[in-house]
Each structure stands twice: as C-alpha cells, then as structure tokens.
C-alpha cells in the first residue's frame, strides 16, 4: 500500500450518507486534485463513527483531527487551510455543548473518550468495501488460529470462558448455545446471523455491518467451525440497503480470498454464507419467526419448548446469534477469553449467567446532546452514558427517564441513574438490555404518553398469533389512550397492571412477553403522572394535548408580539380572535387542542395550564 501524508477518513454510514457525505467526498477529491495533492493525501470512505448527530464526519489521520457537519462548500477552505497551510480549521471542529473552545482531537471528545471498542474495533479506520484494509487490521486472523491450532471443543470452551452472552436481547450464554447445537442430533446444521434489527431508533447491527462486515463473517466462520456447520444465513432487513450491499461485497471478497467456501485455509473445512432479505416485520427478529421467514413461511413465532439449537431451521439444529454477538467472537479468539472476561460485571466462574462481560453497543437517542452509536464496557452506569458519553440533556432541561432495550424496554427514573448497565441489573429494575436501544427523555416527555407511544408500536408489530399479545396489548393501549385523553378512571391503573402481568405471563414469544414493560415501569416509577391524568385531568409534562388548556397572556401578546395574529391565522378551528396590536383570545369551546398556536407563537404568549 502506498504511504500518504494524510488519510482523510470520511464517514459513510447511513447517517452521514444521508447528510451528503458522498458529495463532500467528490468535492474533496476534486479539490485535492486541483491543488495537486493527490499523491500526498488520500480520501478513505469508512464505516460509521457513531457520532451521527454531527455528521458528515471527517477524521484526519494520523493527526486525529475531528471535523464535523461538513458540507461541500467547506471543502476548499479546509484543503487550503489544513493541508496546504497546515492550520486545522477550528470552525469545522466539534464544540461541546457548554464549552467555548472546540476540541480538535477525536480522542479528546467526551463522546469518544468514554467508549471502548470491541465489536466496533475497526469503525472509522477501514474502508468496509476493501478486504485488504480489514486484513491489515487483523481480520480473519482468528480464523487462521482456530482452523490451524484449535479443536472445535477448545473454541467453544474459549467462548464459554469469555462470558460472552447474546447481544440480541436474551443474553443467553453464547458458548452454551454453541455447545448444545454441536451436540444436537441431525445433519446438516445451520448458523444464522440475525440482522433483522427492528427497534425504532436502534441501528447497532446496521452500523457494525456497514463499518466492518468482515468481523461478522469471521465470527460466523468461527462459530460454524466450532459447531460443525457448513451453511450459514444472514437474515437482514430490506430497509438496510447499504449494509446489505457491503455485506455482499464482503462475502464476495472473502470468497475470492478463499476465506469462505470450500476448503478454507486448505484445512478441508467448508463454509459458505447466503444473504436472506427480511421484509421488515419486527416480529421476524424473534428467532423462530425469523427461521419461518427463511423457510418461506409467514413470520410467526412458535413455542420454544423445543429449542432451535435442536429443531430450528427446517427442523434441523440451528445456532442463531445476533450481529453484535458474532462481531465479538474474533476479538475473543485473538485476545483471549481472559481479556474479554476482565471487562464487565459479575462472576461467571459459577454460572454463565453470573455476569455480563465485554462491551455493549447502544444507540443513544432522544433528549441528549450526542445522539449516535456508542460502545461501552458492561457495568458502566447509566449516568456515564447519558451525561458523559451523551453530553447531557440539551436546552437546560431536566433529565426524567431513560428507556433501555428498545420499544419494550422499561423506563428508568433519575434515581436509578447510577445503575450499572448489565443484563441482571436492568432486568431487576424492570427494563432489559434488549438489543441496545437507549432513549433519553426529559421533563417535556409525559411518561403516560411515552408508554402509549411504545405500546402502539408493539401493537402494530404484533403478529397477532396469540391472544394476549394481540388482544391484551390492544386493550392496554385503549386504556392508555383513554387516560391521555382525560377519560381515564381510577380502576384503569389496576386493570392496566392486571393486563400487563397477563400479557407477560401468557404471551407466546418475547414480543408480547416484554411489551408491557414501558407500562409497568412507568406505573412503578411515575405513578403520580398517571394519577394526575386521571384525577386532575392534567398532563404534568403538557405533552397530552387533549388535557391542556391553551390561553394567551394579553400582556406578552401586546407588548412583545403586537398582536401579530400568526396564531389566529394558523388555528385550524378558527378558535382565536383578535386584531393587530391588540391581544388575542382563544375561544375554549371551539379549541380542539391541537397546539399549533403554541408551536407558532414566537413570543411565548401562549400558555398552557
């Protein structure tokens, strides 16, 4: 490979691509050529850096200078200043929320500082479409080690010793799963990579594939060797075109290099991978529904009294792991189980369920400064994630709650911010690890409304097979809607709790089994909000508009807004009257409480009581 003076690592994850990072790339290449720097400076397209809120991102290596929110217009200035004059451009750098000066180096930024990269070890450092760059970063080295120097049993023991647990949500010890599948009767066996990530706002799996598809493939090859499998599937959502394309490219390149296919590394071991596209049903992320979908049947879960490691795909032993789980495997083989087990919480010497080891990737969204993808060691506190990595709550608002684990995760209150993030502690608090969604809520979020929102999602995504999930969740949602509209009654809370436990206890799969979590945790930690809705017919966060009373402060309306009349013109119900320079009034009988007036008034004259 040719050496360059500087490598411009341009993020090409879905977030940055949507923000036109490919246009920036064109502009950069044009400008570099124009300035005659093409032999000195190279533009490298990389996978996602995770800091999606600030995209498109560009990291100049080896200086480690971090630029963000780039547009093609910034390019001439950047090239001129940084690469010709040698002066990094401050105004294109990242400035933390409360800081005055920008932070030039990537590793000094709070968002990156608190992270620990295992599954995402190659993010931002390699071109995901070039296998040579991955190999330069040790990709496929673990396969060589496994195939030439380890027996399948040794590989399984190594994974067991590492304490790796399923990252898809269940947290089942990976080594035990592999061992059961290896020991199960029936041939052939299969391995599957679950890349059907359906949680709203979660994009861990997409990112791993987009930034380093080879880590997933390598993990699958190792798993296949350990279990004794020669066929694998990656089930990926159709909505992930970029990830799918990169996976295709990676598989083709790996095949060309003999890292997939027949007789890998001349050891007689055969393994190949096929990509299956999912049509976007959330429930197909459930292992049995996913397998039904691969078989060409309707994606519906079945009872797992007979485990899929014994009777899975086409009724044959099948080992299904999530993208992140597979991506963790090569690191464990390369660096050893001991290293992996040294990260995280608990003790796994007695029981594999005794601790949570390694790191976990979270997609941090909601009311935080630094939304994006983060990989943090297990055992980190929620506070560290939200305030250190996430940079805290914007606009000086108060933190209210954080939801972990996707749409069926529970809401954890401020009291629990010092909770350590691991499988057991999250479950104990009424939430879950899930696949790693993390939504932060502030004082403006009504917890009843949030519970309603997430329940509406799970209801819409329920396959409808079993009564509790189909009709129980529907009944719960009806009650929540009733409460947010001010029509709730005192008995509704008991009924909600009763229904929640019914749905959890009787549902067929984990979708229904966890769907009531947002309701149960909000009832547990934020019960007073429910009571306010029911007893006082008020929404403390003012998010449930049907409960709000909108009035106009005459003072502000006249003195600041001079009776501008925007609210009057925008009101869809013609409920507002008034004249220029005079105060306006809202006719409460006509007001449908849409809240448009509140949104459009620039002078904060609209008040909610």
């Amino acid at each position: 490979m040719k050496p360059y003076r500087a490598n411009l690592m341009l993020c090409a994850g879905t977030g940055c691509v949507s923000n036109h990072s490919f246009l920036v790339r064109e502009a950069l290449e044009k400008e570099i050529k124009k300035r005659g720097l093409e032999n000195e400076i190279q533009v490298v397209i990389t996978g996602c850096d995770g800091f999606c809120a600030e995209g498109p991102l560009l990291i100049v290596q080896p200086e480690n200078i971090f630029y963000c929110r780039l547009t093609e217009k910034d390019v001439p200035l950047l090239v001129e200043e940084h690469f010709i004059k040698g002066r990094p451009v401050k105004k294109l750098m990242y400035t933390p929320p409360d800081a005055k000066a920008p932070v030039p180096k990537m590793n000094d930024i709070g968002f990156f500082k608190g992270q620990m990269l295992v599954a995402l070890r190659n993010r931002g450092l390699i071109d995901p479409e070039n296998i040579d760059e991955a190999i330069a970063r040790d990709a496929y080295k673990a396969i060589a080690k496994v195939l030439t120097s380890m027996s399948p049993e040794e590989v399984i023991q190594e994974i067991k010793d590492s304490g790796l647990r399923g990252r898809g949500g269940g947290g089942f010890p990976t080594g035990i799963k592999w061992e059961s599948c290896r020991n199960a009767e029936g041939e052939p066996k299969y391995v599957i990579c679950n890349a059907d990530e359906g949680d709203p706002g979660a994009f861990m799996d997409r990112n791993i594939i987009e930034s380093d598809p080879h880590s997933v493939l390598e993990g699958m090859v190792i798993g296949a060797y350990a279990i004794g499998v020669s066929e694998g599937y990656v089930y990926i959502r159709h909505e992930y075109p970029l990830a799918r394309d990169r996976l295709h490219i990676a598989i083709d390149q790996a095949r060309d290099y003999g890292l997939l296919g027949k007789n890998i590394f001349d050891t007689g071991f055969n393994f190949d991978i096929e990509i299956v596209r999912g049509a976007g049903a959330f429930v197909c992320g459930e292992s049995t529904a996913l397998m039904a979908s691969i078989e060409g049947r309707v994606g519906e879960p079945r009872a797992k009294y007979v485990h899929t490691v014994e009777h899975g795909l086409w009724n044959l032993p099948t080992c299904l792991n999530n993208v992140e789980t597979w991506a963790n495997v090569p690191g464990i083989i390369n660096r050893g189980a001991e290293w992996f087990a040294s990260i995280g919480t608990g003790d796994i010497s007695e029981s594999p369920w005794g601790g949570s080891k390694g790191t976990k990737v979270f997609s941090l969204t909601g009311k935080v400064y630094n939304t994006g993808l983060v990989e943090v060691p297990m055992g980190i506190t929620l506070r560290d994630i939200v305030f250190e990595v996430g940079g805290g709550i914007p606009d000086g608002k108060e933190f209210k709650s954080v939801q972990t684990g996707g749409p069926s995760g529970g809401f954890l209150p401020a009291d629990l911010l010092d909770l350590q993030v691991d499988f057991e502690q999250l479950t104990e608090a009424g939430s879950m690890m899930g696949s790693g969604g993390m939504v932060v809520m502030d004082e403006d979020n009504c917890m009843v409304d949030m519970a309603r929102y997430f329940l509406a999602f799970t209801q819409g995504e329920s396959c409808g097979k079993c009564t509790p999930c189909r009709d129980g969740v529907k009944a719960m949602l009806e009650i929540l809607i009733r409460i947010t509209e001010g029509k709730g009654v005192e008995e509704d809370l008991d009924l909600l709790e009763e229904l929640s436990h019914f749905v959890i206890d009787s549902s067929l799969c984990a979708l229904g089994g966890s769907a009531p979590n947002p309701v149960l945790t909000s009832l547990k930690y934020f019960r007073e909000e429910y009571e306010a809705h029911i007893r006082d017919k008020k929404c403390p966060a003012r998010a449930c508009r049907q409960l709000n009373v909108y009035t106009i402060d005459p003072e502000i309306c006249v003195s600041k807004g001079h009776g501008c009349g925007v609210c009057r013109r925008e009101c869809p119900d013609n409920a507002i009257t008034g004249e220029k320079n005079k105060t306006h009034f809202i006719n409460q009988d006509a007001c449908e409480k849409c809240g448009v007036c509140f949104d459009v008034c620039k002078f904060d004259a609209i008040q909610i009581t």
């Binding site: 429930v283 009872a303 209801q459 329920s462 079993c466 229904l499």
Partner: protein
Amino acid sequence: MITVTIDGQKTEVEKETTILKAADKLGIKIPTLCYNELIEPYAACRLCIVEVIRGKRSRLVTACNYPLRQPVEVRTNSERVMKLRRMNLELLMARAPAAKIVRELAAEMGIEKTRFTIDNPEETCILCGLCVQVCENLVGTGAISFTDRGPDRKVATPYDVTSDACILCGACAHFCPTGHIQMTDIEERILHSELTLGPNTAISIPFRQAIPNAPRINPDYCIHMKTGGCEICSQVCPKECINYDDKDEFEEIEVSAVIVATGFQDFDPAPMKQFGYGKYANVLSAGEFEQMNNAASPTSGRIVLENGEEPRSIAILHCIGSRDDNYHKYCSRVCCMYALKFAHLVKEKTEAEVYQLYIDMRAFGKGYEEFYQRLLSEGVHVIRGKGAEIIPAPPDESSEGNLLVHCEDTLISKFREIPVDMVILCTALEARKDAPELARKLNISTGADGWYIEAHPKLAPVSTTTDGIYLAGACQGPKDIPDSVAQGAAAAGHVIKILNQGELLMDAAYAVIQEEYCSGCKMCNGLCPYTAISFDEEKKVSVINAALCKACGTCVAACPSGAIVARHFTDEQIYAQIEGILV
C-alpha cells in the same frame, strides 16, 4: 416413563407426552380453543396455560404443546392459572362476542360480561388458526391464511377473492370451533340433503345394505386423492384398513345372458323455478323425505324442518315432472301411492296437517283404493288441482307456515293459498341419463322417453330385440316394487332356460350376401343395427353373421347391387305372395 403429578394425582407417562394428553389420561379437562389432536399444536389461544412446578421454580406453559421430560408437578387450576384464563376469555369475548364456545367457557368461569371494547358484536372468529392449519398442513392446499397482523389479523383468501386453490373440501368449516366459516354453494343452491342429512363425505358405505357392506373412498371428494394430504381416516382406523392405492379396475367377464336392471333416476325439480326447490330449505324431493324417514338417517327418522323444529303442516305435490307437456308426458305410476304413504307417516309421527295436491288419484292396485279411503278418514286434506307455485310466507306471527302453496282447487273452482312449513315434491321417475349409452353397447333400443323397449309389449315384455338380453324393473318404464320383482323373476326364468339348454335356438329368417354380386362397397356394414355385417378383407366382400342377424331387412333394401337376400323373404317369395293375393 416418568411420573408426573397433575392437580395432586400421580400418573406415569412416556417422555415427551404433552401435559394436555397426560391430563386427559387422568380425566382432567384443560380448556382449549386452538387445539385439535389431528393437528400439530399451534399454541395460539393460550387458554390451556398451566403451572409447572419443579422444585422451587414455577413456570407457566401451554399444556397443548409442553412436552413432559422430567417428573414435575402440574397445576391446571391454581389461582394464578385461573386468573390468566379468566382474563384471556374476557379478551376473547371482546374480540368475538358472538362466538358461543367462548361465551360458554366464560360462563363456566363466572364471567358474564367483558370489560373491554367490543368492536364488532357480530364477530365469531377467535383467530384460533385451526382452519388455516387444517387447510395448509392437513389438506395441503393452503387456500386460506392469516392476513394482516396484530389486532387486524384475520383469516382470508389472497386478496379476499374466491380462491381457485380452494378445493371446496369444507375441512376448515368442519374444524372451526365457532361456526365462523360456513359453506355456501357456489351456485347458491341449498342442498337440503346436506343440511339435514350431513355433507357428502368422501368415505362412506355407498348405500344402505350395500354388498359388501364396507365403506369406500369417493375420489371426487377425498382430500387425499386431490392433494396428497389429510389421511385422517388412516390415522383413526384401528385396523389399518385404509388403502389409498386401491383403484377402480375394469374386469372382463364372459356371460351367456344379461339382465338389464339399471332402474330409473329421480327427476330434478330445480329447473321448475315455481316450486323453489333448492331455494327454500324446506322444499324437499320425495327421495329426500323418504331418506329422512329412515330410522338410520341423521334425524333418526324424525320429520323435522331445516331448523330442527317439527312442521305444523306439510303439502305433498303430485305429478312434478310427470303428466306435464314440458317435461314427461307419462304418468310415473308410483307417486300417488307413495304420496299417500307419506301422508300416513306424517300423521303417525307428527301433529302436522297434510295436504295432497293431485291431478287424478290413481290408486289402481289390490288394496290401494282401500288405503286411499283409509287416509281420507285419517283427516288428510286432498285437493284436486296441481300445485302452481310456492312462495315464502310474509313474516307474520299468526301465519301457520313459512311457505305458501298456490293452487286451484278444481272441485270447487277456487284459487287457494295454503300456508305450510314443508313441501314434498313427488318427482317423476325418469329414464337414466346414461340409458342410451348402455343401449348402444347392448344392441337394445330405447324409446323417446329413454326407457328400454321390450321385444313385444304383450308377448315378450321381458325380452329385448337381442337374444339373451332381458329387462327387469324400472329401466323399462315406471314401475312399483311388486311389478319390478315380478319382472325380475321372469327375466331370471328366461336366463335359467338359456343356461340349462346350453345353446340358443335361432330364428330361421336371416339375411345372406350373395358373394358373386357383392361389389364390396361396405354400405351395409354401417347400416346394420345389430352389427351383424363385417367385411371379409381377403375376398373383398361383406359377410353376415347369421347368429346376430334379426332379419330386419335394412341391408336388403339398401344394397345397391341387390346382393343381399333375406331368407324366407326373398323378392321372389314376396312377389309370389303379392301375386297370390292379387289373383
């Protein structure tokens, strides 16, 4: 074998037995909605959830598909289980308020009303999935499936249109626990026989007292023959008698004589729209009514309406398709008497009024007229006049029937409108549709109505024009049972005569071809109604088989060379006779 405890009772079961089956063994009933033993458990209704306790751990599982592998304790009616079951039923009551089975199960648990929103008070589908499972896995057609998801889930055909994949087997409707799926005839014809007497099953004994008295599979209805699926019969047959490979076979039998006793077929009254057969469920053909009266019928011989109630009045309409210029001009002979028998049966079994609508009452046999007189004294109403039309009665509480029969009472010259609950149509006896086909094969002839023609109406009423072939019963014309028996005995007598003689005495009259005149044109070959003429390829002349020839003379008249002569009826002989008469 493992020992499990269910509700305090211990039992030994094989490993992998489901809790449901183990409980069933102990006589413990666990309610289910989506379970059927013929189908792999679907575990969707969640009603059969029970508590499994092992050591200190308690777990909720569905009994229908949870395999017992360890000695555990199962509680099917703990408070925790009952709470879930009650909530489940309450939710199902909101989904399908009209489903009787759900209401009954809920009532057993003491639930009368649901606390949840009812979207459709008429809904009966509980989405148990039995129909979908049956269609896909048992029948193997997959014509119906679940569509949409979550609360909007429903069972449908693709795009909700009538599916060509559906083989109309009715298995889905049969398995549906709530009656949500109903069979409708595609031509909108109600078949009373199917409603009252059960559907045509693919496996049945062909008719009562059949020999051998064994069931056989009708490949037209059998799902297995169509799709390769199902096989329920072989699963339930304890003696492993079901043989799907058995096929219809053709056998060739050499015989010396044939008795044709193919009988008649019932006239189909459906085209006579005025009687509403097929449109109104309580308009029956005579055959259907007769079947209903049989003690072995699904109604056990009771006379009931389609809704299971006893009729208040019945009209019996004579001459449906008989003595009718538009259908059959002949009298079907037997209807008057069986109509009187029906009236007698109705009077004996029910309190219903009976009306006989006749053109002429033909009680011609020994004791028949007496029977007619007896019926009159039993209070049967007889109206001289053919039924004209049947219409549904207007909904009126005071009405004495749900149908109105219009007729003219010709004895009092008045139009009448008779309210009745049930109508029996005395349908004509008609020749079988396939009678002409058999006639061609046997070289016998049929009349304009399709009945087989005997050799001579008075002198040879049993024989046909082909020697060795005899007629018996209603294939020759409408006949009652005594007449059929008599003719059958006569035919048998003829046959015995032939069999004893060992040879047939031929008529001396037959045609011969004079080879020297035959040009070999073959014209006669096709003309011979008895296929007695063939062509001798060596001599290039036609030849008559004297044993088959009936001396009808057709070939004699047709031969362009005048090469054929009828023995005993040569031209010379006929001229001589003519001359003899003239002189």
